[in-house]
Symmetry: C2
Subunit: 240 residues, 2 copies
């Protein structure tokens, strides 16, 4: 007896920070550009890591209800305002701080991302499903040439991942059943939460997300439907 | 003394039904395809006009609170279920009715739309701002090759145009001030409502929206910032 066939995947939603774009390398690069211009001596790798480390706790304050809905641009800025004195960065103008905060709108894709998305787009609807706000994701796509069919964001459902409202909201907006939607992420917790909502899951390895010395568990987990090295490998497995 | 310069337009949002796509010609075409297959004798032009005529009253029931939030796919289906017996269409399967209802996902663009949008996209963020639901707009874009940077819909803010929440919500999601956002539409009432919210406005003439004998007032109104014959003319005026 053949096993029952899983429903066809109609749309793919992608985590963005770390999965599509290299936030760490991009923030380091932007920091160095600023540092050269303003003659700052800062460990920009440590700065990038500290900025990102503030991200989950900030979202947790929104998820718990301690903060009202606050978009990522504003959470990034709250964290940044604390980091600048901590790293000895003084004397920046408001325009310079705002430009640095918007470095997250200019993150660069992993080398395989653009070509992989173009291949996946031929067969599937491809959309973001990121905690980044809509403007950030639109500007990033324009800057980096990411060919999304649709920009979906936590901002639209006013819940941050891994709240179930994000995954189920994306399925509703795309007009597909959860089992027809595949979440693509380099983060296992994101995929476990998507799977608990009935979505299909594709794990993509991004071993350098935390830099050349960073540690990432890229072992295969049987709970996920697909395990891919990168987006080109994902396209090879999904677009036949 | 020079007049104060208006702020730069950063993003364009587009009405879709009638402005980007020819809903009437497309529905007639889909009706004829179905009619040939099922040997139906129906005046499909009258059918298309009747379907569209049900649209505003159905949205008005949502806007007034008489109906809870209901997306356009479901409003289209409610109207269609009433139209089929009225036009003597009987014996369709559920799949056929659903396929006909989704004709709105397959509407065809006006001849200048794709090329005009591609030009406008080089300089501006271009997004839909339609009462159509997200899945409808995503499927339409994929089907018709419309190169949107972002799909914005009444569904995202849970208000139908011309409620101010739609225009102001779009500005908020795109991260621009209302005066930096331009509404593009072939419908003057849409533009007047956008203007009342502080948006810039571009009127595009679509004299054939209601067919070769339909009447459309395409006179120039000084209240609008731009008056364009079509999207290529709009691109000539905005992208210099």
């Amino acid at each position: 007896m053949k096993p029952p066939r899983a429903p066809q995947v109609k749309a793919l939603v992608f985590d963005v920070f770390g999965t599509v774009v290299d936030w760490r390398g991009s923030i380091i690069r932007e920091g160095r550009l600023l540092g050269r211009r303003r003659k700052l001596k800062v460990d920009w790798a440590a700065f990038a890591d500290a900025w990102r480390a503030g991200y989950r706790p900030a979202m947790a304050r929104v998820r718990s209800g301690e903060l009202p809905w606050t978009k990522i641009d504003d959470l990034h800025r709250m964290i940044l305002d604390g980091l600048l004195p901590r790293f000895g960065v003084r004397g920046l103008t408001e325009d310079e701080i705002d430009h640095l905060n918007r470095a997250w709108h200019r993150l660069r894709p992993w080398p395989d991302a653009r070509a992989g998305l173009a291949k996946l787009k031929r067969r599937h609807v491809i959309a973001t499903l990121s905690n980044g706000n809509v403007a950030l994701l639109v500007n990033m796509a324009k800057h980096a040439g990411l060919p999304w069919d649709c920009i979906l964001s936590a901002e639209v459902v006013r819940h941050y991942k891994p709240d179930p409202e994000t995954y189920l909201g994306a399925a509703g907006l795309l007009g597909v059943r959860p089992a027809e939607l595949m979440m693509v992420a380099a983060h296992k917790d994101d995929l476990h939460a998507a799977r608990a909502c009935g979505l299909r899951t594709a794990y993509v390895t991004r071993p350098r997300e935390y830099g050349p010395e960073g540690k990432v568990d890229i072992t295969r987990e049987p709970a996920f439907d697909v395990h891919a090295r990168d987006f080109l490998d994902l396209a090879r497995q999904l677009v036949r």
